[in-house]
């Protein structure tokens, strides 16, 4: 697969999901990628770049990335201010946080995300509509469940640590303890390193072999 280096892409727009979370849409320019991969992005000419998972699906003729504004962030704050027609510099796609073709129709998947760690799972779920999966998403409040209506009924479980109006009240680790996972399930985890570490421990205790665990850490 061809990797783009220092290539200028045009911004189509920025869609705000919360005060601090937004989707930046770019022209796709025919870029080939595997759902779950990420892009290294920065403003044109700016040496500061950050990795963001591709949020859009294979079918889309644009590229979406889901961005969380970071306090004192050198890139996220600039991305928030982008306007249609602005240029940004993109490297990628990169990464191996992807699912194998042969597993798509034969395996059961569990996706575990915290915050904007849901990004790669959105791309995977929308790209492979036949996928047998459950997505557990850990956030504080219901307004952070982002575009949960994009997933088929019963596939998305929002674990809200500070809000009673969700599918589950508590952290993703609480959900996993109360809902043991079938060891044959392929588990993909994306988000905060501590969440992933704790979830790894629980899944291993439940008998999920390490070969079935895949992680992408967000910082």
């Amino acid at each position: 697969m061809e990797v783009t280096i220092n290539t200028i892409f045009t911004v189509q727009g920025v869609r705000h999901l919360t005060d601090s979370t937004y989707i930046v849409r770019l022209d796709r320019k025919g870029m080939m990628f595997v759902p779950g991969q990420n892009l290294n992005i920065g403003l044109a000419g700016d040496p500061e770049k950050r990795d963001y998972s591709i949020y859009s699906s294979l079918e889309d003729n644009f590229l979406d990335i889901l961005v969380k504004e970071v306090d004192d962030g050198l890139v996220s704050k600039k991305l928030k201010k982008l306007k249609p027609g602005d240029s940004i510099e993109v490297d990628g796609p990169f990464g191996f946080f992807t699912i194998k073709d042969e597993d798509i129709s034969t395996k059961k998947f569990l996706f575990i995300a915290s915050g904007t760690g849901i990004g790669p799972f959105h791309s995977i779920a929308l790209s492979y509509p036949e996928l047998n999966y459950k997505l557990i998403h850990g956030v504080r409040n219901r307004n952070e469940t982002y575009e949960k209506d994009h997933y088929p009924a019963g596939c998305y479980i929002g674990c809200l640590s500070k809000d009673k109006k969700g599918e589950f009240r508590g952290r993703v680790t609480d959900y996993l303890r109360q809902n043991p996972v079938d060891p044959d399930t392929l588990c993909y985890l994306c988000g905060n390193v501590n969440m992933i570490y704790d979830a790894f421990d629980i899944l291993k205790e439940q008998g999920v072999p390490s070969g079935n665990l895949h992680a992408e850490v967000y910082f």
Partner: protein
């Protein structure tokens, strides 16, 4: 009189391979290659920038040249030339700063220079695979570059920034390079690159490449250079049953703590690593594992460090290349909190070294009474031959009637020397 050129290489095997290839260009053109400590018309320093220490050593090396011979042409290349290009270019002691992708054209640059034609480094051809097989006079084994760059972006690592994105060399070029090396008389081929396990080109992956290389006719063996524990599996493990593929892997662990591996953004878990090791040992029980371990990654606690020690002892790596973590500008770990004190890093590093020494002695002792097929590197004045067996540890034996180096000799291990490296002693069979 032939012009004299001296080379110095710092860092990885890939750098060494590239220096060897450039050196061969000069030999073939009639230049005289001299030791780096001698007077020369030009000095080429192939630098490394992977840690602060590497930067320090690289700077020390090219500064030495200036002190020794301020009139000589000084070429600085390698990863430091990518990472600190502007600094190096503004240093008027350095004649040319050559980035990695133009390193293969250093001969053209210097040869033109001596003929009075000054070429700007930016005009040199950029080709990451523009390296031929090394002259046999340079090495005992021939390294073959199959891949360059890395897309993993481990949070501590500067390599994707200085070596660039991953790119795999076409198999036809690899095969040509190997056949050329075999024509030179090399008996051992080392497949090398930055992240060779992620080889991917024209529908071939790393396992396919190893399989195809093993099918090349000839009396030679194949060694796999340093590799990340990812991108391959049972197919490669089965290939180790082919006697042409040496039973040794330098499989980079970095940490035995799951939490630290996640924070390093490595692509495997400790369990994955253990499973990989056990699958190989099930096929070849005396397989030799060596590794890299990084101590003092940001946030590494005493208990996480102990986890690493435990894994190092359990797997019994016969050699551990221990690194102290050092901040690399532009990496994600640069912005991580809880940086570990230098003193603690040094203490941890010494502990790992002790474990490595014990492992090494134990592993090498287990070969007493067994045979090794040694590729003879040298025969010293006292009549002893030295080289590496297929398992990749140094073996010393009485040369007797043996006069030829760079060929195989079957020996039986009979002990270990009490030297710093626990060199294995043997007798020809």
């Amino acid at each position: 009189m032939a012009r004299k050129i001296a080379f110095k290489t710092l860092g990885c095997r890939l750098n060494q391979y590239e220096t060897d290839s450039v050196t061969s260009d000069f030999i073939n053109a009639g230049y005289e290659i001299v030791n780096f400590s001698e007077e020369a018309d030009a000095y080429v320093v192939n630098t490394c920038t992977v840690t602060n220490m590497s930067d320090h050593k690289s700077r020390q090396t090219y500064n030495q040249v200036y002190r020794r011979n301020p009139d000589a042409v000084l070429v600085v290349t390698g990863c430091m030339a990518n990472n600190h290009k502007e600094d190096l270019e503004s240093n008027n002691r350095i004649t040319y700063t050559i980035k990695n992708d133009r390193k293969g054209s250093i001969f053209n640059l210097l040869d033109s220079h001596f003929k009075g034609e000054i070429i700007s480094p930016d005009q040199l051809k950029a080709d990451r695979f523009g390296f031929g097989a090394a002259e046999k006079s340079i090495r005992t084994r021939s390294m073959i570059k199959i891949q360059d760059g890395c897309n993993n972006f481990c949070t501590f690592c500067i390599v994707p920034h200085v070596r660039g994105r991953a790119e795999s060399r076409p198999y036809s070029e690899i095969e040509k390079n190997i056949k050329h090396a075999l024509e030179f008389g090399y008996k051992e081929i080392v497949l090398t690159g930055v992240n060779i396990g992620r080889y991917e080109r024209d529908g071939l992956n790393f396992e396919d490449i190893v399989g195809k290389v093993l099918e090349i006719p000839g009396y030679f063996r194949v060694r796999i250079s340093s590799i990340e524990p990812e991108g391959f599996g049972d197919k490669l493990f089965n290939l180790f049953q082919n006697p042409k593929l040496t039973p040794h892997l330098h499989l980079c662990l970095q940490s035995g703590s799951e939490k630290i591996l996640l924070a390093m953004r490595r692509q495997y878990s400790v369990d994955d690593f253990r499973i990989m090791v056990s699958k190989i040992l099930n096929r070849i029980p005396d397989f030799n594992f060596t590794t890299d371990i990084m101590v003092g990654f940001p946030g590494e606690t005493e208990s996480e460090f102990r986890e690493t020690c435990k894994v190092a002892e359990e797997i019994g790596f016969s050699h551990i290349h221990t690194f102290k973590y050092s901040v690399r500008k532009g990496t994600r770990a640069e912005r991580m909190p809880n940086q570990v004190q230098e003193k603690v890093k040094t203490e941890r590093s010494l502990i790992i070294r002790d474990i490595a020494e014990n492992n090494k002695k134990k592993y090498r002792s287990s070969f007493i009474g067994k045979t090794q097929k040694v590729l003879v590197e040298k025969i010293d004045k006292t009549g002893f031959a030295k080289g590496y067996g297929e398992h990749y540890f140094p073996v010393r034996f009485k040369a007797d009637e043996l006069t030829q180096t760079k060929d195989f000799k079957l020996v039986r291990v009979n002990g270990l020397l009490d030297d710093q490296d626990f060199t294995v002693t043997a007798k020809p069979v």
